[in-house]
C-alpha cells in the first residue's frame, strides 16, 4: 500500500513538468550547462521539495531540517529550478544561472545560497559529507534525515567507496542515498566506459540496504524513501533508474546532451513538447 495518494501524485507530476520548463528556460538563457541529467532528475527533485523533505523554505537554515546533499553538482540547475518553485528564491533569480555576479553558480557553493547544503562538482565527495552530517547528528540524537543524491558514473571514483564503506560499517541508518542510474557519462555509456555493475551487490557487500526503483514513478520513489526510514540497522541506497533527458524525446538517452544546453530555436520546440506532455510521465491512469 502506497504512502502517497493519487491526487498528490498527479499534483507532483504537474509540478515536475513546470520545473522542467523552467529548467529549459534557465539553460537556454545560460547558454551552457548540463541538460540530460537535470531533466532525468526532475521527478525526483520535485518529490523531494514538494513531498519528502521536512524543510522550511522561508527558514532555510532551520536546524532540524532534512539535509538534501547533491554530490554530482553539475546537475544543480534542476535543484535551483525546484528550489525556486518551492520558494527558496525567485524564478527570476534562477534565470541568472551561470551569469557573472549570480548566486546561481555553475556548480553549487555552500556559502552562497542558504539551503544548498554543500559545495559540489568534483565527483565522489557528496557521500562522505552526508556521512559526516549523519554521524554528527546521530551523536547529538537529532532525528532529521540526510539524503545524498549521486550520479552513477561518479561511482568510478575511489573516494566514494571509502564513504560507502564508512557509512555501512557505522550503520548510518539516517542516510538515504539515491543514485541517478541513467547509464550515461561524457564519454559514452557507463558500461562501455568503465562498468559499474553489479551496483546493488556492491552496496549490499558494503553493508547497505538497497532498493531499485523507477526514477520517474514518483509514487514508487516516495514509497522507497518511506521504506528507507524504516530500516534501522543500516543505511539505505535507492537505485533510481532514470532516462537522461526524460520528457524531451530528442534528448532522451543521448549522451551527447550530458554537457550542453539547448539553443534558442531548440528551446521553443522543447518547451512546446513539455507543454503537451500531459500525463505521459505517470504511474497513474489519468483519463
Amino acid at each position: 500500500m502506497s504512502n502517497i495518494d493519487e491526487a498528490k501524485v498527479c499534483e507532483l507530476e504537474a509540478k515536475a513538468n513546470e520545473i522542467r520548463q523552467t529548467l529549459i528556460r534557465m539553460l537556454t538563457e545560460a547558454g551552457s550547462g548540463h541538460t540530460a541529467g537535470p531533466l532525468g532528475m526532475a521527478d525526483i527533485f520535485t518529490a523531494f521539495y514538494f513531498h519528502i523533505l521536512n524543510h522550511k523554505p522561508e527558514d532555510p537554515m532551520w536546524g532540524d531540517r532534512d539535509r538534501l546533499i547533491l554530490s554530482n553538482g553539475h546537475i544543480v540547475p534542476i535543484r535551483y529550478a525546484a528550489m525556486a518553485h518551492a520558494g527558496y528564491f525567485s524564478i527570476e533569480e534562477a534565470m541568472t544561472l551561470r551569469k557573472f555576479g549570480s548566486r546561481m553558480q555553475g556548480h553549487p557553493e555552500l556559502d552562497r545560497i542558504p539551503g544548498i547544503e554543500t559545495t559540489s562538482g568534483p565527483l565522489g565527495s557528496g557521500l562522505g559529507q552526508a556521512a559526516g552530517v549523519a554521524y554528527g547528528a546521530r551523536m547529538d540524537g537529532k532525528k532529521f534525515r540526510v539524503y545524498c543524491l549521486m550520479s552513477d558514473a561518479e561511482h568510478q571514483a575511489g573516494n566514494l567507496w571509502e564513504s560507502a564503506m564508512f557509512a555501512g560499517v557505522n550503520k548510518l541508518s539516517n542516510i538515504t542515498g539515491v543514485i541517478d542510474r541513467n547509464n550515461i557519462q561524457i564519454n559514452g555509456m557507463t558500461e562501455d566506459v568503465m562498468p559499474l555493475e553489479p551496483l546493488r551487490e556492491k552496496y549490499e557487500a558494503f553493508g547497505w540496504h538497497v532498493i531499485d526503483v523507477d526514477g520517474h514513478n514518483i509514487e514508487a520513489f516516495c514509497d522507497a524513501v518511506e521504506e528507507s526510514k524504516a530500516i534501522y540497522e543500516k543505511p539505505t541506497l535507492i537505485i533510481a533508474h532514470t532516462i537522461p533527458g526524460k520528457g524531451i524525446e530528442g534528448i532522451e538517452f543521448d549522451y551527447t546532451w550530458h554537457g550542453k544546453s539547448p539553443k534558442e530555436g531548440e528551446a521553443d520546440k522543447f518547451l512546446k513538447e513539455l507543454r503537451t506532455l500531459g500525463g505521459k510521465i505517470t504511474c497513474n491512469d489519468h483519463d
Partner: protein, 332 residues
C-alpha cells in the same frame, strides 16, 4: 640576545639539559584540552592513532573519536560534513597523505566551503627520518597556503604546538597545522606569547645586520646560530613566524626595515614555502637581500633526522653561512 619578552626557557643553550619532545605530543595534549573546553571538538583518525597522538583523545573521549581507516579522502569529506553540521573536527594523518593525497577534497569541501576543519599533518619534513622520501612531506605548506580561506600554522616546539591546537579549536575557519615526528628541544614556556597570525621576536640585538625568519622546530637551530654568530660580533633579529598564512606582514616588514637583510628557515621546499611568502611580502613593499634555508627542489631519503637536516643544508652551520652571505649582499 634572547628577547626577554618572549619568555623562553632560562637555560635555552644548554642543549643537553633541555627537555626534548615532538610537536605531535603538543597536538595530542592540546586536542584533549580543547575537547574538555568544547564538546563540539571531535577527532578523526586514518589508522594512525598512536603516531598522531590522537589516541590520547580517544582514551579521554571515546565517543568523540572517529576511526576512518586508511581513507584520507573520506577523512576530509566526512570532516567537512561534521563541520557543516556543527562539530569542530580535527583530522589526523601523516602530512604526506593529508593534505598530500586529499588536496582536492580539502579544496572543495573545506576551503571553498569555508568550514572549520582543522587539518593536522603529522611527520612533516625530512626529520621523519628512516621512512624515506615517500613519507617526508615537503610540499604541504605550499599546497595549503595557496588555498583561499585556509590558515597555515607550523609550531616550533611541543608547547607552542599545544597552544596552537587549543587556539585552532576556537576559530570558525579551516586551519592547517603542521607537526613533526622527532623529538626536538622544548624552548618556549607556558608564558611565551602565542597568537595566530602574530609573529614573535625571540632574539633582538641592537643595530641588527640581518633577520632570521624561521618556523617549526628549526627555529631552535636559528637561535643557536644567532648565539654563535653573536660571539663573532654579528648582530641579528630572529623572528618566530609560526603563522605562515595569514602572515604577520607588519612584523616581517619591521624586521626587514630594521636589519636590511633576511634569511628564511623552514624544513620544507623553498619553492612555495614560508620563505616564498616572506619574499612576496618584501618584494612588494621593501625589497632586501634574502637567503632561503630549506630543501631546494629535491626529494628526501632515508637517514637519521640530524643527518638529513645537515645533508639538505638546514643545520646550524648552513644557517650561519646564509646569514654571512646575506649580510655580504647588502648594498653598503
Amino acid at each position: 640576545m634572547i628577547n626577554k619578552d618572549s619568555k623562553l626557557v632560562e637555560n635555552i643553550f644548554e642543549m643537553e639539559a633541555l627537555e626534548q619532545a615532538s610537536t605531535r605530543d603538543g597536538f595530542g595534549k592540546g586536542v584533549v584540552e580543547a575537547g574538555k573546553e568544547d564538546e563540539r571538538v571531535v577527532v578523526l583518525c586514518a589508522d594512525l592513532a598512536e603516531s598522531t597522538r590522537s589516541h590520547w583523545f580517544k582514551e579521554e573521549f571515546p565517543s568523540r573519536y572517529i576511526e576512518m581507516g586508511v581513507a584520507e579522502q573520506n577523512l576530509a569529506t566526512v570532516a567537512s560534513g561534521l563541520a557543516n553540521y556543527g562539530k569542530i573536527p580535527f583530522i589526523t594523518s601523516y602530512a604526506a597523505f593529508s593534505p598530500g593525497r586529499n588536496n582536492e577534497q580539502i579544496r572543495t569541501t573545506i576551503s571553498l566551503s569555508n568550514l572549520p576543519v582543522k587539518i593536522c599533518g603529522m611527520h612533516a619534513g625530512v626529520s621523519v627520518g628512516p621512512d624515506g622520501a615517500t613519507h617526508q612531506q615537503l610540499e604541504d605548506i605550499a599546497l595549503m597556503r595557496v588555498q583561499p580561506n585556509m590558515t597555515v600554522i607550523y609550531p616550533c616546539d611541543v608547547e607552542e604546538a599545544r597552544k596552537a591546537t587549543v587556539a585552532a579549536a576556537k576559530t570558525d575557519t579551516p586551519i592547517y597545522l603542521r607537526f613533526a615526528r622527532s623529538n626536538t628541544p622544548m624552548f618556549t614556556t607556558k608564558d611565551t606569547p602565542f597568537e595566530i597570525g602574530k609573529a614573535e621576536l625571540v632574539w633582538k640585538d641592537k643595530d641588527p645586520q640581518a633577520t632570521i625568519i624561521a618556523c617549526g622546530p628549526l627555529l631552535y637551530k636559528a637561535l643557536v646560530a644567532a648565539e654563535e654568530l653573536s660571539k663573532e660580533g654579528i648582530r641579528l633579529l630572529v623572528l618566530n613566524n609560526h603563522t605562515i598564512k595569514p602572515m604577520d606582514s607588519s612584523a616581517v616588514l619591521r624586521c626587514a626595515r630594521e636589519s636590511g637583510a633576511v634569511v628564511t628557515v623552514e624544513e620544507h621546499q623553498v619553492h612555495g614555502g614560508m620563505g616564498s611568502r616572506v619574499a612576496e611580502v618584501l618584494a612588494q613593499e621593501y625589497p632586501v637581500p634574502i637567503e632561503f634555508i630549506g630543501v631546494h627542489d629535491q626529494f628526501g631519503q632515508s637517514g637519521t633526522p640530524e643527518e638529513l637536516i645537515e645533508h639538505y643544508g638546514m643545520g646550524v652551520s648552513s644557517i650561519k653561512d646564509a646569514v654571512k652571505k646575506v649580510i655580504g649582499r647588502k648594498i653598503a
